[in-house]
């Protein structure tokens, strides 16, 4: 048998939209070992939130993730509203639900395209992104921007939905529903697609629970885990929600769950438009939030999103913790990758709909020998990397970095 080959997928790789490093050990074309390395995208968002007021934090939290931006800001707003003891108007709750479901539409269509691209089916990518564009136009019309809609504010929403906009949404939703019916049929009947997606990235029911998988990954393994059903928020206590599950427990199952969830979302959007209550869209929330702590869970397109906010009575939060959905799904990744072919690695990674920068937090080094923990700052990290290269005979001394770039 030939020697095992180690292939790095990342940090820079065409199949990864954001940097992360997967060190894949191959035996022939089969993966025998996989090491998941994240942490290239730490942005210090949680710390930045502590330095700003609650109102400013909404816009930072919204930028945790480029795709599930609305659900993050909803979760944060809900936490703060809980702390302030404010009940948002029903109309605002419905508009939040409407936006969340529109966001799920665009996120799942985006994922379908990415999945197509990862297996070399670019036509599917172009078609599903074309349809996603219609949803994005609607979101831009409602919120004012294509991805970071900025529709949430503390105590409600910032913009109302007008009757003309409702008509436009209905039209788009009809088109998306019809096109999606075609994608469901395509996903179920196209042999090359089924051959590439079926049977890979297995994560069984028990494993999904063991690794704490969330969202479509766990629902594809028949874990009926959907926060919209189990712990309703916004208007989900009135909007009929069905948790879509599938028994394939592989990438194909995750595809089926997602395309069927689009159909579910379409139904929910129609329900929201039909039953939009009248009334105010926002209530006033004081700038200073009373002392306390709140923990709120919501269902992002990628799975369970959890926020923890602790306030100390000022206008700035004491601690903000964001647990994005992808973070929960990373744990099972090694298990999913091993035993499959190299060709399947990108699609298995893509199948959890990973969001790398959402998940990256501060890096703490555990020293296994001494049991001590240490945190590396920018200067030490830079020295470490220079020495790392020097030890390998590469002189980085010629590279000049302006001092102003070293300060932050």
């Amino acid at each position: 048998m030939a020697k095992n080959v180690v292939i790095p997928i990342g940090p820079q790789h065409p199949s990864l939209k954001e940097p992360a490093c997967f060190t894949i050990t191959l035996e022939g074309e089969k993966v025998v070992n996989a090491v998941v390395g994240t942490g290239y995208n730490h942005r210090g968002l949680e710390k930045a939130c502590e330095a700003r007021s609650y109102l400013q934090d909404i816009y930072i939290i919204e930028r945790v993730c480029g795709i599930c931006s609305h659900i993050h800001s909803t979760t944060f707003c809900q936490s703060v509203e809980e702390l302030a003891g404010v009940e948002i108007p029903r109309r605002a709750a419905y508009i939040r639900t409407l936006m969340a479901e529109l966001e799920r539409l665009h996120s799942h269509l985006l994922w379908l395209g990415i999945a197509g691209h990862e297996v070399g089916f670019d036509t599917l990518l172009m078609y599903s992104w074309r349809d996603r564009e219609l949803v994005l136009d609607i979101l831009a019309m409602l919120g004012g921007n294509r991805v970071n809609y900025g529709i949430n504010t503390l105590g409600g929403v910032r913009r109302d939905v007008t009757p003309e906009q409702i008509e436009k949404i209905r039209k788009v939703v009809d088109i998306v529903e019809e096109r999606n019916k075609y994608y469901v049929q395509l996903a179920l009947s196209e042999t090359t697609l089924a051959a590439r997606l079926g049977g890979i990235g297995k994560l069984s029911h028990d494993d999904a629970i063991k690794f704490g998988a969330v969202g479509p990954v766990s629902r594809a393994a028949e874990v009926a885990d959907d926060i919209r059903v189990t712990d309703p928020y916004s208007a989900y206590d009135e909007v009929p929600v069905t948790a879509i599950t599938d028994n394939h427990a592989d990438v194909f199952g995750r595809t089926v769950v997602r395309v069927l969830e689009i159909m579910e979302s379409v139904k929910m959007i129609r329900f929201c438009l039909d039953n939009l209550p009248d009334g105010d869209i926002a209530v006033k929330v004081p700038r200073k939030i009373p002392e306390g702590e709140a923990f709120v869970r919501t269902e992002a397109p990628r799975g369970e999103d959890a926020h923890y906010v602790r306030s100390n009575g000022t206008d700035k939060p004491d601690r903000v913790r964001v647990r994005a959905a992808s973070e929960a799904n990373w744990h099972g990744m090694k298990h999913m990758l091993e035993g499959d072919y190299l060709a399947d690695v990108p699609i298995i990674i893509a199948a959890i709909d990973p969001c790398y920068s959402c998940t990256d937090r501060a890096i703490v080094l555990d020293n296994h020998d001494t049991g001590k923990q240490s945190v590396i700052d920018w200067r030490t990290l830079r020295e470490y990397s220079i020495n790392w290269y020097k030890a390998r005979g590469i002189d980085t001394g010629k590279i000049k970095i302006a001092d102003s770039h070293l300060i932050f």
């Binding site: 065409p14 691209h117 990862e118 089916f121 670019d122 090359t192 051959a195 060709a343």
Partner: protein, 311 residues
């Protein structure tokens, strides 16, 4: 002087190069339109080519200094030579001789071998995996492709491309017999040209760009040119075999050549837009389980018909 003109200008190097760039544009625009996109402007392939020529060409420190830059040129030369034996303006090519079919098939295998060597001499892990895949793929599609092209030759009783083209030109109905071979040839060509669903050696999302990952600048430009030229040559050969319509008038014959090759290109473009890339073991299985038996069936049919038909 005439020979030099033939080799360098028409139908040789210059014409093939320009037609290859045009072909790449057509391929991309058809592909784009099938996907409901605008597609690139007409000068995009030329602009890409010129840009690549102007860029710095890096030879990896671990790569072989002599083989690495030579491989793209070998690939291009092999393809350009093959083009001389393909009929363009009439039923006959420039230099027809008995057995040129075999020569052309072997010349067309050379680019794939250079892809393998390119990946091997790059010594990058992605390139190595890509080159292994290129070679594995070669052993899968080459047999059905050869058989698919040899079975029409059996019926025509000649090993010359021009002879086969003229034979089917004289008996147009016999083309219908070769429809299975046509299907096999189109599918196998997709493998030869490394296009979806058989673009495993350069699968972008898996192994970056596979064998070409270390190539840059003018070396990559020449490689890309060779791939485009290969597309033209393969389309021309397939059209000479399975669409052998030509006229005595060289000018109309030339236009007919363009129409025929564009039809083949359109089929290839549709083919690549409707499928997902398959895995290497699926590719091998598919080629040996379905493609090769179909090609063998075609050969048996043609051998039997040869005894029956009044030829």
């Amino acid at each position: 002087m005439v020979a030099l003109f033939n080799i360098l200008i028409f139908p040789g190097f210059l014409f093939l190069g320009i037609y290859a760039l045009l072909f790449e544009y057509l391929d991309r625009i058809i592909y784009a339109r099938l996907q409901n996109r605008m597609g690139p402007p007409w000068f995009q392939p030329l602009a890409d080519f010129l840009k690549l020529i102007g860029k710095e060409a890096v030879i990896p420190a671990a790569a072989d200094k002599h083989v690495f830059p030579a491989l793209p040129v070998v690939a291009l030369a092999a393809v350009t030579t093959a083009f001389l034996y393909v009929p363009i303006w009439s039923g006959s090519s420039l230099l027809p001789f008995s057995g040129d079919l075999i020569v052309v098939l072997y010349l067309l295998t050379i680019p794939t071998l250079t892809f393998f060597l390119a990946g091997w001499y790059s010594t990058s892990v992605y390139a190595t995996v890509g080159s292994m895949r290129a070679l594995t793929q070669l052993f899968s599609y080459e047999v059905p492709l050869f058989m698919a092209l040899l079975s029409p030759a059996l019926l025509a009783d000649t090993w010359s491309i021009s002879g086969i083209s003229q034979f089917y030109g004289a008996h147009p109905l016999y083309i219908l017999i070769n429809i299975p071979a046509f299907v096999v040839a189109i599918v196998a060509c997709q493998g030869k040209l490394e296009r979806v669903p058989f673009d495993l050696p350069e699968a972008e999302t898996e192994i970056v760009s596979g064998t070409f990952v270390e190539y840059s600048g003018r070396f990559y430009a020449v490689f890309k040119m060779a791939i485009n030229c290969e597309l033209v040559v393969v389309a021309a050969i397939v059209s000479a075999f399975f669409l052998p319509f030509y006229t005595a008038n060289p000018f109309i014959g030339f236009l007919l050549f363009i129409v025929k090759t564009v039809i083949i290109l359109f089929i290839l473009a549709v083919f690549r837009s409707v499928m997902a890339r398959i895995r290497i073991e699926q590719m091998v299985k598919f080629c040996w389980k379905y493609l090769t038996p179909l090609a063998i069936l075609q050969i048996i049919i043609n051998i039997l018909l040869k005894g029956v038909l009044p030829l």
